[in-house]
Amino acid sequence: MTSIATLPSAKMCSYHGTIRLFVQVLWAHLLCGWASGSELTFELPDNAKQCFYEDITVGTKCTLEFQVVTGGHYDVDCRLEDVDGTVLYKEMKKQYDSFTFTAAKNGTYKFCFSNEFSTFTHKTVYFDFQVGEDPPLFPNENRVTALTQMESACVSIHEALKSVIDYQTHFRLREGQGRSRAEDLNTRVAFWSIGEAFILLVVSISQVVLLRSFFSDRKTTMTRVGS
């Protein structure tokens, strides 16, 4: 009998708990919606321009980092514009750069990479656009208490590892540049060596043949002069 009596209150408790959970998860997703990072590598053909857009809320700290991976002199034009078209960052023929800014207005920010100055080399560009901070690991609404020592140690290790991963990425891209140059060099050396050896043979044989043809025409005249 007691179970039936306690049933409505138990139901109320679980209902309240579900609502709290719902709000907690919703909050987590709202936070996730405001913080993101996009890291992409794409190919930019010659005379082409590629633009990317992102909707940013005011006050968010954003970072744009880019590096040219392959192609020509490894340079690209980059331009970052805010909502009204005001140019926040503009650099021509840059190999690698990092730009941090805080969004002053709500709206769509645009950044473009241009290879319009190049006639026939297409470039591969890597960029990393970080908007806001990373979402917290736990959607913890009662985060009024400070982090414990263990937790803050974990947070600092996490931040350090993030920068390690970032350095690794940039190192990999640099090394990729060097490696593709070395592979190009190897192919070029191989083809040109074979080509040159072949040309050498052809030229020496044709020299002899040509020389012979000169003398075989004048043979009669020479003998006439001689006698």
Partner: protein
């Protein structure tokens, strides 16, 4: 504070209902856009996209276009196709790399119009997450019932694992670089010797041949 199983369930539900893929770009209706992901092996990649079609009459992008689909093609470093599927205007694709190297992810719409006549523009929202960014920590916490500290430790472990995989890949790449340099060195060495020999041999042959030719012609 732990998220319980219903919380994880609602979380997953929200992940599907509220797509907030922030970055977007424009492509032509029949244009193919490719992205390169240089990743070590056994790395998971999750890609999410959402497309909107430009409406000429309204002068803006439509919210949703039924019938508009995107074809996703993923090639591994040996240019072998590992995924080639058609998705709707909103989709999510996943793959795990089996070889380390440059993977190519290509997207193009399923528009059947000819390139000349298709003047439409598409807005593609794209989000690609690689490696440890693919882990959904609230979900993992709920599944394995981890405390906050355990979850943080798990995140650090995942990050360190990714660093380790990248270092392994770096070792393999450095070896390839070294082999390429050695091969160039060998090429330069042997082909220089070969060319010098060819030069000397053809020189000697030329002289001998011409000498015998002129002697035969009674010019010498």
């Amino acid at each position: 504070m732990m998220l319980t199983a219903p919380g994880a369930g609602i979380s997953i539900l929200f992940a599907w209902l509220s797509p907030s893929y922030a970055l977007y770009f424009h492509i032509g209706e029949t244009e193919k856009k490719c992205f390169i992901e240089e990743i070590p092996d056994e790395t998971m990649v999750i890609g999410k996209y959402r497309t909107q079609l430009w409406d000429k009459q309204m002068g803006s992008f439509l919210k949703a276009t039924p019938g508009l689909g995107m074809h996703v093609e993923i090639k591994d470093p040996d240019t072998k196709i590992i995924l080639s599927r058609q998705y709707g205007s909103e989709g999510r694709f996943t793959f795990t790399s089996h070889t380390s190297g440059d993977h190519q992810l290509c997207l193009h719409s399923n528009s059947t119009k000819m390139a000349l006549f298709a003047g439409g523009k598409l807005r593609v929202h794209l989000d690609i997450q690689v490696g440890e960014h693919t882990n959904n920590y609230p979900e993992i916490a709920a599944k394995d019932k981890l405390t906050e500290l355990q979850l943080r430790a798990r995140q650090l472990l995942d990050q360190v694992e990714q660093i380790q995989k990248e270092q392994n890949y770096q070792q393999y790449r450095e070896e390839r670089f070294r082999m390429t340099s050695e091969s160039t060195n060998q090429h330069v060495l042997w082909w220089s010797i070969a060319q010098t020999l060819i030069l000397i041999v053809t020189g000697i042959w030329q002289l001998k041949h011409l000498k015998s030719f002129f002697e035969a012609k009674k010019l010498v």
